[in-house]
């Protein structure tokens, strides 16, 4: 278990662990459920040591039954608890789809009972996981009114958004990117903080082209920005952080400034979040647009396993550079 230690760099993974630990200490309604999160500490070791600290019931190993334990978390949430459920991999969330979309998402709307539930979904590719250990399921839930979705890109956002998600009175799916777990580090504030749900963050300001993205792709966009800067093209990198509710104003503001927009995600292109962002811009910022809105995303296939295939599948820095250059020249 990682406790907040000012000054030391922590990984994205440790930031998640810290958030869980601090929230469990702060609020005894918070408890964890999932497969192998107890003595084992979870497939990614995020809850390592938690069961010793909080006991067998607050760090609850479940049978292998995603629908059952998400349903149980919903019931506990309705009773005023604050369950945080771990999917071993985000991919398995499909097994709990019905409980999430039909029960959790619609409950408050239908009869007014809040469902303060967090589902942690370790998602994304680049880890040689193949079709069933690399998925980006956010597109499905993006189209399910009643859910909130967040997808942090840095340790700071990871910690702050998880705390906000746990404190939110609604079901929140927390998409944590597996590729970032041990690759991204930062020094975090030692005091308690949250990142408000619904607020995007400009990770790099720029005047020429806006890239609207989230998750691991933020880092790709930042890399591309470095390269483009050498050619005098200033990329603005808008990290959505929250996918639902979208921070529309932040998107509009950026594109009104640059007049050029690229959406970027690792999820499949068709019906992805990039489509929605593009549609919002085409509706609301039409008069500010100085070029087509370009979408960079994975192609419409499952995530392939073999290295050359997965490399082909995932968006690349060069894709962003090419699109930005094309737009800058428009």
């Amino acid at each position: 278990m990682t406790t907040a230690t000012a000054g030391r760099e922590v990984t994205y993974l440790e930031a998640i662990s810290q958030a869980l630990d601090e929230e469990m200490t702060r609020d005894e309604r918070v408890f964890l459920m999932g497969e192998d999160i107890g003595p084992y500490g979870g497939a990614f070791r995020i809850t390592e040591g938690f069961q010793q600290k909080y006991g067998e019931w607050r760090v609850l190993d479940t049978p292998l039954s995603e629908s059952g334990f998400v349903g149980a978390a919903i019931g506990a949430a309705m009773m005023g608890m604050r369950p945080v459920v771990e999917m071993q991999f985000a991919d398995f969330i499909s097994c709990a789809f019905d409980q999430i979309t039909e029960v959790a998402a619609k409950n408050h709307y239908r009869w007014g009972a809040p469902v303060p539930l967090v589902i942690r979904a370790p998602f994304g590719g680049g880890v040689h996981g193949g079709p069933f250990h690399s998925e980006c399921p956010e597109g499905w839930f993006f189209h399910s009114p009643g859910l909130k979705l967040v997808a942090p890109s840095t340790p700071y956002d990871a910690k702050g958004l998880l705390k906000a998600a746990i404190r939110d009175p609604n079901p929140v799916i927390y998409f944590e990117h597996k590729f970032l777990y041990r690759r991204i580090k930062a020094v975090l504030p030692s005091e308690d903080f949250i990142i408000p749900i619904g607020k995007a963050d400009v990770k790099r300001a720029g005047s020429d082209v806006s890239v609207i993205t989230y998750g691991a792709m933020v880092h790709l966009a930042l890399e591309a920005a470095e390269l483009l800067a050498r050619d005098g093209i200033e990329l603005e990198v808008v990290d959505l952080r929250t996918l639902i509710p979208l921070d529309k104003e932040a998107i509009y503001q950026s594109v009104r400034k640059t007049g050029k927009a690229i959406t970027l995600h690792e999820d499949n292109k068709t019906g992805g979040i990039g489509a929605e962002v593009t549609a919002l811009l085409a509706e609301e910022c039409f008069d500010s647009l100085d070029g087509p809105i370009m979408r960079i995303a994975a192609p419409d296939t499952p995530v392939p396993f073999s290295t050359p295939l997965e490399e082909f599948f995932l968006p690349k820095v060069s894709d962003i550079v090419a699109a930005a250059k094309k737009l800058a020249a428009y």
Partner: protein, 333 residues
């Protein structure tokens, strides 16, 4: 134990109160059916006609603090928990005074203040939810219990399995009722499962199971009481199969031609209200006068409910947009 002897073990006042709820449930659903025939109901109507003893029985066995997660033929449980006939009819008419303010229809009602988890159409979805309610009690060390119900058909769904298994593994304070009315819509039990008794399902989970006559109010009530007591004592979940029969169609637009008429004739004789009246008379707790009085009382209450509902306002269009998300103010820390 002989039926009459069983009845004698229940207090008179409790029996009379449950009898009242049986009658209220029947009267209310009959009235709603009549409104449906007149085209005055929004959406479909699914009744628990002939099965009223089950939901009245289990709901009556609970304490005030306990929770129910009923299913679509459990009108009796809603009423016992204090949802009024007026609110119910308002719900069926899509009025703002119904428990869902017009957002949802018919038995899809819930109200945390009265300990009722709202029903979800997707059958068996509420069973895992009920285990979570029980888990919350366990986590907080509260001696509360949750009772849920499913149809025979609903037990074929994966969520039934996952809920039963989890409850058994963690010995959670939840009681699973199963309303075996021999059909799931048009599908007879034999095409639904290869076991004779639904209670056999419980064996897969190491969960104690029991069969009761679902048309016998006292039997249901006592079985519920035992199981609830056990659950409250930390001894884990129980599965209770209530043998009964769906006396109406699946919904009021279904003539149920697929059900043999003789089967219905046979079960008509076992009507739970009829049976209750016979028993109450035999013990000497009530007579025809009581029954008539109760009948008049429930008719009046139902009519008052219809009047309340009809006078109630419909929601206005823009209310559609309210309530997708909960606000912080709704949950006190």
């Amino acid at each position: 134990m002989e039926v009459l002897e069983t009845w004698k073990t229940v207090k008179r006042a409790d029996l009379l109160q449950m009898y009242y709820y049986l009658r209220l449930t029947r009267a209310l659903e009959d009235r709603i059916t009549a409104l449906y025939r007149q085209g005055r109901i929004v959406g479909g109507v699914y009744t628990g006609n002939g099965m009223e003893a089950i939901s009245v029985g289990y709901a009556s066995a609970l304490e005030r603090d306990d929770i129910i997660a009923p299913f679509h033929r459990d009108m009796g449980a809603f009423l016992v928990r204090g949802i009024t006939p007026g609110e119910v009819v308002a719900q069926y008419l899509g009025k703002r005074t119904g428990p869902t303010k017009g957002k949802d229809g018919n038995v899809h009602m819930g109200d945390l203040k009265r300990g009722v988890i709202g029903f979800v159409s997707h059958l068996a979805d509420n069973l895992p939810v009920a285990t979570g309610v029980a888990l919350a009690f366990r986590l907080r060390g509260e001696s509360r219990v949750v009772v849920t119900n499913t149809g025979d058909g609903g037990t074929s769904r994966g969520d039934f399995h996952e809920a039963m298994n989890f409850a058994a593994v963690r010995k959670l304070p939840v009681v699973f009722f199963c309303n075996n009315n021999q059909y799931a819509y048009s599908t007879p039990l034999g095409l639904q499962m290869a076991v004779k008794d639904v209670v056999d399902r419980a064996k897969a989970y190491g969960m104690p199971g029991e069969i009761v006559d679902g048309n016998d109010l006292a039997a249901v009530y006592l079985a519920a009481r035992r199981a609830i007591q056990k659950a409250r004592a930390g001894e884990g979940p129980t599965f209770i199969e209530c043998k009964t029969m769906r006396m109406h169609g699946h919904s009021e637009h279904d003539s149920a031609k697929y059900v043999p008429r003789e089967l219905l004739e046979e079960w008509k004789k076992k009507d739970p209200i009829l049976k209750a009246e016979q028993m109450l008379k035999q013990i000497g707790y009530a007579d025809e006068n009581t029954f008539r009085e109760v009948g008049e009382r429930v008719t009046k209450e139902v009519e008052a409910g219809v009047e309340f509902a009809e006078k109630s306002p419909l929601p206005e269009g823009p209310e559609t947009l309210n309530g997708v998300f909960a606000t912080d103010e709704e949950i006190k820390p």
